[in-house]
Structures are given as structure tokens and as C-alpha cells.
Amino acid sequence: MAAIEQREAASGRPISGSGLSMRTKRLLWVWSFLAVPILFYTIIRFYPTFQAFYLSLTNWDLVRPPKLVWFANYIKLYKDPQFWKVFRNTFLYLIVGTPISLVLAFAIAYFLDRVRFMHNFIRALYFLPFLTTAAAMAWVWRWFYQPPPIGIINDVLALIGIPQQPFIRSTNQALYSIMVTAIWAGLGFQIIIFMAGLRAIPNTFYEAARIDGLGEWAILRKITLPLLKPTTVFLVVFSSIGFLRIFDQVYNMTTNDPGGPLGSTKPLVLMIYQTAFNSYAMGYAAAQTVVLFTILLIVSLLQLFILREKK
């Protein structure tokens, strides 16, 4: 807006015949264009969001009109042992998944940046999983993880004499097995972003550092990482939200026993889905959604605060 006003003042054109000043007219135009996305957003995003807050206070089951039950859903959630298990799973995906995927992506980007030989080809290979449908990938990995005689990973383990692993059939390994596929799927995107960030750092800094006799490690610590901070912040937030909302991989890799075995892989989003569309407890599902929303909000704000630019 300020830009328009300034330009307006500078041009100082005369008032046109319709009685409205040029400036008002322009403002009208700008706002009528802006109104479309704003209206769209209000109807598609904000209205359902507020509706969800309201629904979380009701016992709506889809067939009967919703009745206000106030905080009964939240109390039920607090007492539900399954919720706490799911809560733990969700944070495991986040706390283990995000750092591993970022460190891995950075390491690959850092070294790939120096590789000239088949650079584009290798980069494309890393990016490929990001382009593939999550459902298709999940099924491929699901078959990789099978016990003998059909699972490839177990076949390889057998070749090198390591005992067979149950992977997604185990309550201890299943979550990490699925996390690996999620990390792998998101890696390509993170590498590309990291590489763009690395390229944006002016070469002169490195030249100066080398002339001053700094080692590679010191350059990495003192120049690369600090200057890469905006990229890192973006990826941390982006990847955290991704892990907090994980669903496709889990659902597709455990379709017969969704989120199983014994709920050991179930994330919050899958629980919401089941509550809403298997049990049709819409009010209860809305309460879970509000909790997820709050977690996402807190985690994102916290990360922005911790990784903020110190001036």
C-alpha cells in the first residue's frame, strides 16, 4: 500500500471526472482484486477452522445434530491411553526424524556442491523420491521390509549373516522403519534447498578465509553454517510440520492394521482420521485436531524464536 501511495504522491495526477480521486480508484481496484483471495481464504480456510473449534465442544456424530458438551472431548482425550501413545509416536517422528533428515540433507548437499562429475544426474536421483507419490513409495518399502522369502532387505541381511529382522511387524522397529521412508522421501527437497542456500553464500568470504589460513572445519563452522541460517530455519520448520503431520507413509505401510502393530506407529493425524471416518465421532476428532493445531503452532513459534536472527 505504502508503495502505491508514494507513487501516487510522486506522479500527482489530476482528479478524474467521476468524482473519485485517482488514488481512491486505484485503491478500489487493488482491494477488489485482493478481495477474491481473501474471501476464498475466509470461506475455505478460516471458517472451517473456527467451525472445528466449535465442533470440538460438541458430540457430533454426523447423523444427529451436534449437542454442546463443552470440554468433555478434551477430558476424554486426556484420559485416553491411546492418545498418549499416539502423542509419543508423533513426537518421536518429529524429534528423531527432523534432525536426522536435516543433517543428512546438509551433508549430502555440502559434498554434492563440490562434485562436478555427473552433478545434475546425482541431484536428480536424490530428488526423484520427492516427485513420487507417497502411497506408491510406501507400498514399495512395505514389500522391502517383508520377512523372508519375499523381503529384499531381509534377503540381503541373510546374505551377510545377520539374523532376520521383523521391521514393520515389530512394535520396536516399526516406527523407525517407517520414519526411514519418510526421511528418504523428503531428502531430495531438502538437498535442493540447502544447495541453493550454499550457492547464495558469496565466494569472496571463502577466499578471504582461505587467505587467512582457516581450515575446512573452521570455514564450515564460522562461515557456511551461520550464513546458511535462514535456509536452516526454513527447513527445520518445514520438516517439523511434515513429521508432525505424517500420515501417508504410515497408513499405506500398515493398511491391514492401520498404525499398528499395537498402535506403535500411529501418528496423531491417523488417529484423527480413524476417529472421524471409522468411528464417526466427529466432535472427538475435532478436539484432536485442535490439539494438533496447537502443537503445530507452539512448535513452529518455538523454532522461529530459538533460531531467530540475533541483532
Partner: protein, 417 residues
């Protein structure tokens, strides 16, 4: 001028109304997408329209995962279908939500329903009213791989008749590699498939118990019989090693792939198994216990009439429902979909009883039970978890059973309207 126009408009409106009434009624029929079911229904609609020139039926389908939500949402929005298909287990919810009307007694007298249909149809009865009738029903049977039977030195024309024979055959077929991994399963162990129904309605009864009481609202399997049934089931993997949960991902996949000697599955699997080319398979009744007690689990999709349908649409819907639950329609359904007729007279024909594939399923219908699920997926999940606690976490069958019974009771109580 204005008056004349108004009059003309009124006249035009009135005349189209009158013509419509005399000519055609359109009713809508909803079911979920499943290729053969949609084809069979197209055929039934064509036959019905030929016999009833004044009525057109429009078939609308939705993916299974969306189906319930669509029906409920459409009902709220006031454009529900006139005749709809529903799983028997959804009835409580649909009735509570006011989606269905009781079947008019003039067209569907109760004594006739109870005389002609298989007894499992009573699952569609609430407070003395029927809310729907099935075209076809499904039951379970034991599929077996004749090639693996022959290889194991078993008679491929004499499949197991009792649980002991079933276990013995499984042990002969099962093959382990040097590291103790199953290479060929004697029988599949897959609670996520049909095994939870087998355990609930068949094994518990064969070990002398009942899964539920009070119209399936009280969990009764935390008993000695329930424990014996669970011990038997988990021992298939843990002691007898005839199968392993998760082997080849799914039981049906293992059987299809020729890597399992036996599997328990339903009529709905026939279509998929009929395309198997690598080996011959057979079907037999679910094994009896040592005393000869048999049981089975039957289920079905029924067709009901929307609560909002009235007047001539209701008359047309009654006619359509009567047609799709007639022997002629059931015959078409059996040939196209492979599901068994719900009417005794249409099912128990000489030709069907001689059919080596249909006969075991049909015999099963005579003594089948139908669980009145309150939360079908939740109760299934509960049974899966009960077995997984034993197989994966080493919990004792006694504790796992008690935990499952308590959790399921809570689930049933929570679903009460």
C-alpha cells in the same frame, strides 16, 4: 399481458407435472464401487425397467471408503437416495440417524421374510421392524491348495474336516528354512483378514462358549472357552508353527502366491482366487471340532429404503427392492458377483449344492452367526491387538484376553445411542 403470461406459465408447469406423473418416476439407487457389483446392478436395473416401463432407476456409486459419509451427508442435505445399500453392521447408526424407513409390511410381510430368507436376516430387525433385505450373503470356508496337499503327501480330494486334521495337515505342509523362517505356510495366520471372525463366531463356540450375550451388547468371551480358543489360535504360530502373522504380507497374498496350504476366507475372495493359474485349489467347510460342532460367520449388504422417500417414489422403490431381492435377481448376482443368494429357495438349489465351490459356503450359511457389531472396525482392531500382544509382546493369552474383553465392552457401551 402479464396475467396471460403468468397463466400460460402456470399451465405449462401444471401440464409438465401431469405428464411426468403419468409417465415416469425416477428413483436413485446407491451402492459402493466394486466392479462386479456395479455391473450386476446395471443388469438388474435393465431387467427391472423392462418389466416396469414407468420407472427408471439411476445407479450412483461411491468409493467404499467414502460411502457411509456420502450417504449421511446426502441425507442431511436432503437429497438422499431412494434405495441404498448398507452393510448390516451399520444399521444401528443408520436407524438412529433417521436415514431409513421400516420396510412397508404390505410389500414385505415379516412372516414371509423369516420363512424365506436365511436366519441371519434378523440382523436387519430393530424394535419389531425390518429395515432392509439382502440380495446376497457371504460366509466363510477353508480354501486349500491341492498342489501343496499332493506335495505333502496328503489327499487333495480329502481336505481336513476337523480342527485336529486341520492342524495336522498344516504341519505336514509347512516348510521352514535353516534359520527357522517359514518358506511355505501350512495355513495362514492373519487376524487382519477373516481370522478375527473365525475366532469370534466359530472357535469360541467350538470350544464351548459364546462370544457375546444380550444381543451382542455384553462381551462374554473372557471365559475358559474364549481362552481355549485364543490359545488354539496363537499356538498355530507359536507352537505348531504352521503359519506366521505377516508371512507374505497378507494371508490371501500368501495363498494366491502358492505359498500357503490353507487359508480361511469368504465368498468375496472367489473372484480373486478364480484367476489363479499356477495351481488348483479347493474349498471345504470350516473344520468342525472333535464333537462335530460347526459354526460360521455370515455377513451381507442389505438394501433399505430412505426415510425421506414417499408417494410414487416410495411405490417405485418398493417394487425395485422387491425385484432385487427376488430369486431371479439373486441368480444374476450369483453369476456376476459370486455372492450367495439370500433366499433359501434360490440358494439351496440342486445345482448350487452340487457345485464344489458354492456348496461349502452354502452349508456354512445354515449354522452361521452374524455378529451385531457396534463399531465394526474398532472391534476388529481390538481382536487384532489381542493376538498381537501375545505374538509380538509375549503377553499371556489370559491377560490379553481379559484386556481385549474390557476394551471391547467399553467400545460397545460408548456406541450406545
Amino acid at each position: 399481458m402479464r396475467k396471460a403470461a403468468l397463466f400460460a406459465g402456470l399451465l405449462a408447469g401444471f401440464s409438465t407435472f401431469a405428464v411426468n406423473a403419468a409417465q415416469a418416476v425416477e428413483i436413485e439407487y446407491w451402492q459402493y464401487v466394486f466392479d462386479t457389483r456395479v455391473k450386476a446392478m446395471d443388469q438388474l436395473i435393465a431387467e427391472f425397467q423392462k418389466a416396469n416401463p414407468g420407472i427408471t432407476v439411476k445407479q450412483v456409486t461411491f468409493p467404499y471408503a467414502d460411502y457411509q459419509t456420502r450417504v449421511i451427508a446426502a441425507n442431511m442435505a436432503g437429497n438422499a437416495p431412494d434405495v441404498m445399500q448398507l452393510f448390516y453392521g451399520w444399521l444401528d447408526k443408520f436407524v438412529a440417524g433417521g436415514l431409513l424407513q421400516p420396510l412397508p409390511k404390505d410389500a414385505f410381510p415379516h412372516d414371509k421374510i423369516e420363512k424365506d430368507f436365511f436366519p441371519i436376516v434378523t440382523a436387519m430387525k430393530r424394535d419389531g421392524e425390518y429395515y432392509g433385505l439382502p440380495t446376497a450373503v457371504r460366509s466363510l470356508a477353508l480354501f486349500y491348495n491341492k498342489k501343496l496337499f499332493t506335495e505333502a503327501g496328503l489327499d487333495p480330494n480329502n481336505p481336513p474336516k476337523t480342527l485336529d486334521e486341520y492342524v495336522a495337515a498344516g504341519q505336514k505342509i509347512a516348510k521352514l528354512d535353516g534359520a527357522g523362517n517359514i518358506v511355505v505356510a501350512g495355513s495362514t495366520v492373519d487376524m487382519g483378514g477373516q481370522d478375527h471372525q473365525w475366532w469370534r463366531e466359530v472357535l469360541i463356540r467350538q470350544f464351548g462358549g459364546t462370544p457375546y450375550t444380550d444381543n451382542d451388547t455384553k462381551v462374554a468371551y473372557n471365559s475358559e472357552a474364549g481362552l481355549k480358543a485364543l490359545n488354539f489360535y496363537t499356538s498355530l504360530q507359536l507352537e505348531k508353527k504352521i503359519g506366521k502373522a505377516g508371512f507374505m504380507d497378507e494371508g490371501q497374498a500368501a495363498f494366491r502366491g502358492g505359498k500357503a496350504g490353507m487359508t480361511i476366507d469368504g465368498t468375496f475372495r472367489l473372484g480373486s482366487f478364480k484367476t489363479i493359474k499356477d495351481f488348483e485349489w479347493g474349498v471345504t467347510e470350516l473344520p468342525a471340532n472333535a464333537q462335530g460342532v460347526r459354526s460360521n460367520y455370515a455377513s451381507y449388504f442389505a438394501n433399505g429404503i430412505s426415510a425421506k422417500t414417499k408417494g410414487e417414489e416410495l411405490e417405485a422403490s418398493k417394487k425395485f427392492l422387491a425385484y432385487i431381492t427376488s430369486p431371479a435377481a439373486m441368480d444374476i448376482w450369483l453369476k456376476t458377483v459370486g455372492e450367495l443368494p439370500a433366499l433359501r429357495s434360490a440358494a439351496l438349489t440342486e445345482a448350487n449344492l452340487k457345485d464344489p465351490i458354492y456348496a461349502p459356503f452354502l452349508k456354512g450359511l445354515e449354522y452361521a452367526h452374524t455378529t451385531l457389531f457396534k463399531d465394526e472396525l474398532g472391534q476388529r482392531q481390538n481382536a487384532i491387538d489381542m493376538v498381537n500382544r501375545v505374538l509380538l509382546e509375549g503377553q499371556s493369552t489370559k491377560d490379553s484376553l481379559a484386556q481385549a474383553a474390557e476394551a471391547e465392552q467399553e467400545m460397545i457401551d460408548a456406541a450406545k445411542p
